[in-house]
Symmetry: D2
């Protein structure tokens, strides 16, 4: 028996960079949190502490800031430039993965017009990109996180398996509320990222709204299917939906009816539904995930 | 020397209630987190464990749900109804305070029109109300929390005291970013709450944008002054501003200039600026805070 | 009507300093998070942006690090040195408050003996001190936070008020679990802080354990009373207890009894019990809180 | 092109169960947070909303509580019983994964002896187990999370790659602080779980303490190697180490030296080092991870 080093990677996580772009007196800001992870020929630092092939995570952080000096563009492109840099610059780096979370800001409106250089955070959801590069290819996964949605009707849940531990009542009317993380892998890297992202997000929201739901799984699949049907650049979409239970409160002890109007929003435990929708002819995922 | 019971209060915190209102097929939702705190004749439960004057916190929770059965209206009104109930119903309750955080949801747009019963969380900030009632009066404090704003220019900081521990460079150009909690006390309870809230929030945002800033304190005061000048129903406003430092990254080691374009957004430590703006003829705060 | 500046303070929050002390090859570490808040003659920075009386929060941070160069001692003493410095050094500072959270670390045991310079975090609770100084005096509040305790029996709750919204069953047997924040004000600043702290913490824990509880309020009072009875240097103690509800799960649908053995630990809503225990001859609190 | 359902699973996450065991007047408590995830023949609920093969997540929660009625034993065994139940009871469930986090509590000491039924939370780290069962096998991964360790000397970092973005100084003396998550896969399910866990944890801590570190990767490997060398029941160990940077503060502007005594503990960005140590003859991981 020999003890051996298995899979490993390392990097700098959560470098928070804000980039201001000035065009005349009008500013735009970008708010990115960037995580880099490198894999490659790093056995020696593990085995003997010889760091001669190691790109210090501090250098990775510096690189993120230096690359932010140029126009950032879509986070998918920014991630591609960074990931290709690490793979191209350092022989010891076989695979670089760059994950970016972007927070959105809006110009503050003053007198009905957007102010030049004052901003307010726009929403709690985040746009995401995960880019992976090797010498042989590049893979881009786009995404949206912390997307909170709720339907106050149009959701049922019944016909499920019963066993001796089942007490849940069947229902033809419930609140469906979920925190969605959706990540979609692109067929290649020739994509109009912003337009694609906006349309995928729109399709996810519209399908959540329009699909009459018999289960959260059905809703998840419908959302993914809608994206794949409309966006040929998407090869696969993975969704994680945190089912935020809303229980109708029993008001009968107080002599009151409650026809699905008053709900208790519970924190834990929660349902967690994870699923993938893809094409039967999708290219191999390679190192995308 | 005698050991005595001093100030005390108790209650149920963070009852999370979601209320659906249906008008034909069109739904609206309200998402409130309600905290109740009662003070009064509760010495006995402390001293002997005699609970005969204690309103169980479980009962407080039930009361929140039962009161949510009726139309909720503005959170200030909902808080007033709840607080007055506790004071009026129970002789042992001398003072009831109800704090409510409200999260906003928007109808999901489908084909350019708002969907009837599907919603997406709107923003990360929260609307707040703190209502306090005794037999002798009622006090309402409205507020906004987690309001993230940023100016990419129009902010200076110089001329401050220097001592042997001062290393900060003076600057005529910096990012000013802050997470604002603003809470304003009303002159009385005869207020159009929603209209007042929206206008105060607008004034805070506009003043943050328009005021050229020599210090975050100056910005804070200007924001409060703008509110008091325009809204006679506001007696006093208290603001807490978390100064989220954005440091221009030194790119010179890489042969690059950085003219306030690339910033590192730091988490901790942070500045914390707290201030009150009021009127010299404001009514006494009583039990408002 | 004139608009005026009311109460205000500002400072640097959450400077996280770790101090290593070396005695031969044996090291000790201290892990402090320090928040400074200054009040004084700061009207001008609010009104005109004139910062000539302002101690920059960056300077406050530097001061924390510089003062950590000397032996830190108890956090109460470290806070006193810092607060007195700000009041003494700057004419514009009338009141300085320094709050410190300390996290504990233990030497890692190797072969049954503590290792010289390797440490593991010891527990999740924190020791706290809040020191306030003016030209006229100094006040010290010590404390403990995030102290999680639980009794699996010896806790009842019954005899409470009933109204039309009461559904809670009376019980002579329940789990009592609470997250305690206790803060105690000292009579003066001549205290052996570490010994006092350890003994107060011991008294809080022992009393929680030994006191048969008819209500969480009764437990709170007993804990405070035990501290005041034994520790003459303590003038007053304020406690906040988050009642973490544990509900016995109804297993009867599965044909099982549950004699207070299986509990569901709920997150929200939670009870929140706040109370003060003091002496009738305690000195005035001044600016302590 | 056909759109198809890919990998999917669902379950109830974070059921928080507290189990009290009474032996005479002496109680013990167990504090578990249990997450269940099932995979299997669930295409229909995705495609048509037919839930006839779906075990409701509410039923999963009930099952956790019902199984907690019997003595829990080690969390690995509790996970095995639960996972086997789901696979064995429901033809549609092909794979069940149960993840358990356990929080530790100690008896409160009173007069030097442990109190019968009063407890205080012991530490912030958690013991973990992830158990996966199919019809064909069972896999157990044990672990420890949120294990915070720090070395105040005995850590160097130099000899790393330099490029145009490198500014980090080489050092022969730094603080090494890390939050460790370690998870180890067992060769089979015939293990004395508690003894094995305690010994693995001890080996991780001792090796962190004793290994002179030239890089965090070297420390990680040494920790894994020590576990595999001593514990034949462990086939593979995966570690994730969050490098919590401690920067020596530059006190020279204040005329002070700082010989690695005063450090600023930074939150973000942070290094993230992930690695696996295994045996060349380890059994295949199957569905363990």
């Amino acid at each position: 028996m020999t003890i051996v080093l298995g899979d490993n990677q390392y990097g700098k996580a959560e470098t928070h960079v804000v980039r201001v772009t000035k065009s005349g007196g009008t500013h735009e800001i970008r708010d990115l949190t960037v995580t880099v992870a490198l894999a490659g020929d790093f056995a020696e630092t593990h085995l003997s502490g010889d760091n001669s092939k190691v790109v210090a995570t501090d250098t990775q952080k510096n690189t993120v800031f230096a690359f932010a000096r140029d126009p950032i563009g879509d986070i998918e492109d920014f991630g591609l430039r960074l990931a290709r840099h690490f793979v191209g610059e350092f022989a010891s780096v076989y695979r670089a993965r760059v994950h970016i979370d972007e927070a959105a800001w809006s110009h503050i409106g003053v007198g009905g017009k957007p102010h030049d250089h004052a901003f307010v955070r726009a929403g709690s959801e985040k746009r995401m990109a995960t880019v992976t590069c090797t010498d042989d290819g590049s893979w881009v996964v786009s995404g949206v996180g912390d997307l909170l949605v709720l339907k106050s009707t149009g959701s049922e849940f019944h016909g499920f398996l019963k066993d001796r531990f089942t007490t849940l009542a069947e229902t033809e009317e419930r609140i469906l509320a979920t925190s969605v993380v959706a990540r979609w892998r692109h067929v290649d890297t020739q994509v109009e990222w912003a337009r694609s992202h906006d349309d995928v997000r729109r399709l996810l929201l519209e399908t959540f709204a329009l699909k009459h739901s018999l289960s959260l799984q059905q809703t998840l699949y419908a959302m993914g299917e809608a994206v794949l049907r409309a966006r040929p650049e998407v090869a696969e979409i993975r969704m994680s939906m945190l089912n935020k239970h809303h229980f109708a409160v029993d008001l009968s002890p107080f002599g009151m009816a409650n026809e699905n109007e008053v709900f208790y929003a519970s924190d834990r435990p929660f349902g967690l539904i994870e699923g993938t929708v893809t094409r039967d002819d999708a290219p191999e995922p390679g190192f995308a995930w």
